[in-house]
Symmetry: C2
Subunit: 240 residues, 2 copies
């Protein structure tokens, strides 16, 4: 007898995890909501409590849910505190991290340029929103950034006020949860435009952050390029 090599083998708890992610994608479970207890979920799906536990632990590791002993398991929210911790790595050299304030410079819509289509994975002729804003840390303009979004994903966003906490808005108004982001950092000299926005001389060194934000379903939903003054701030990176 030849043993059958199960090539498509995927552990049960990962299948359960995927099913749970699907519920998040579809909005059946929404941010802040309490999930059913492990026992209930296990009974519903027809697996043991331990398997449900492994699936939920995986989601907790991915910061998609928060587990609180004695209380329950909750869908993670994009509140400022969480974003500050998870997605905002620019902190003061001395003192505590704060969520930056924003001043909108311009909002526009147009046909996606080839670069934008490439980064966001959009088809020819797709339209994008472009938000340019200056963000201040401790009252001082410190970040000049351009946020590029697929217009199709965020209908009506350009008409209203652009909120300060974008990720909370993606989740709350559009049901899109940013699960992770990839950043590429470079050191550059500021051009005249950005220097003026930040109130420094042209040529001033700045940290260039090129970020792609990726939603639960793996789709890139935002391209953000930020130029940051790092005279009194630094980008924090933990390696382990």
């Amino acid at each position: 007898m030849t043993p059958v090599p199960k090539l498509g083998f995927r552990p049960l708890y990962q299948q359960v995890r995927d099913a749970f992610v699907q519920r998040l994608v579809e909005g059946r479970w929404t941010p802040g909501q309490a999930l059913p207890s492990e026992i209930e979920l296990a009974a519903e799906i027809g697996v043991s409590q331990g398997t449900v536990r492994k699936a939920l632990d995986a989601l907790a590791t991915e910061n998609l849910v928060v587990r609180r002993q004695g209380r329950g398991t909750f869908v993670a929210e994009h509140d400022e505190a969480r974003i500050l911790f998870q997605f905002f790595k620019l902190v003061p050299d001395a003192g505590e991290a704060r969520f930056p304030e924003s001043r909108i410079v311009s909002v526009s819509e147009g046909n996606a340029a080839p670069v934008e289509r490439d980064v966001l994975g959009l088809p020819d002729g797709a339209r994008v929103l472009r938000v340019v804003r200056v963000r201040s840390l401790g009252g001082k303009p410190s970040i000049a950034e351009t946020v590029t979004l697929p217009a199709a994903l965020f209908p009506g966003l350009a008409e209203g006020d652009i909120p300060n906490n974008l990720y909370a808005t993606y989740a709350g108004r559009y049901g899109i949860t940013v699960a992770r982001a990839q950043e590429k950092l470079k050191a550059v000299a500021l051009d005249g435009t950005d220097a003026a926005l930040l109130g420094v001389a042209p040529g001033h060194p700045a940290l260039l952050i090129d970020r792609q934000a990726i939603a639960l379903d793996g789709v890139t939903v935002e391209w953000r390029v930020s130029r940051c003054l790092t005279d009194e701030f630094h980008y924090m990176s933990d390696l382990r």
Copy 2:
């Protein structure tokens, strides 16, 4: 009856994990070595196999051991591939990451300056080694860096050749395993000295990386300040 609040409660599997880390610190388990099987460890310590498993899984998450199904659990090594993946975040804009070559500029020993004592947690009067080197990526000088080490931890290092892969040497010759690192990034303009080392004009923008490397026992064993050209490279950071 009042239930006793166990303030110092620490799960068994974490205590087991700590005991295993201790073996690593003491060199009873050395890089590359195969650990006893889960069953043997469980029998030796007197806990269940599941508890040993949780402890080993924790160590694997911390990149201190590597688990290979069907083969065993091994102490992680500081080979170039691992360092490249874990501790070296500067990659070419196009193409594959490579381990950089090094050219030593100077090696010196002296009394630790106040900053150095502060960063490395050294007492007054302690001595340090300072290594200045230029590292090349793809044949092009791209990183000028100063590595500062407590002389007491690395006796005789200054006399011999300074190897390219420092972390492998810390582990192999001195039994010191770098477990994690904290990096602070800034954008700066290069001064004349560094610009000359890297073959660019003074004032050229560079990515400043200020790294503290922390050993298994939590002690800071290295302070490294690197100035990196990012014209053809970027620093990769994954947020999740």
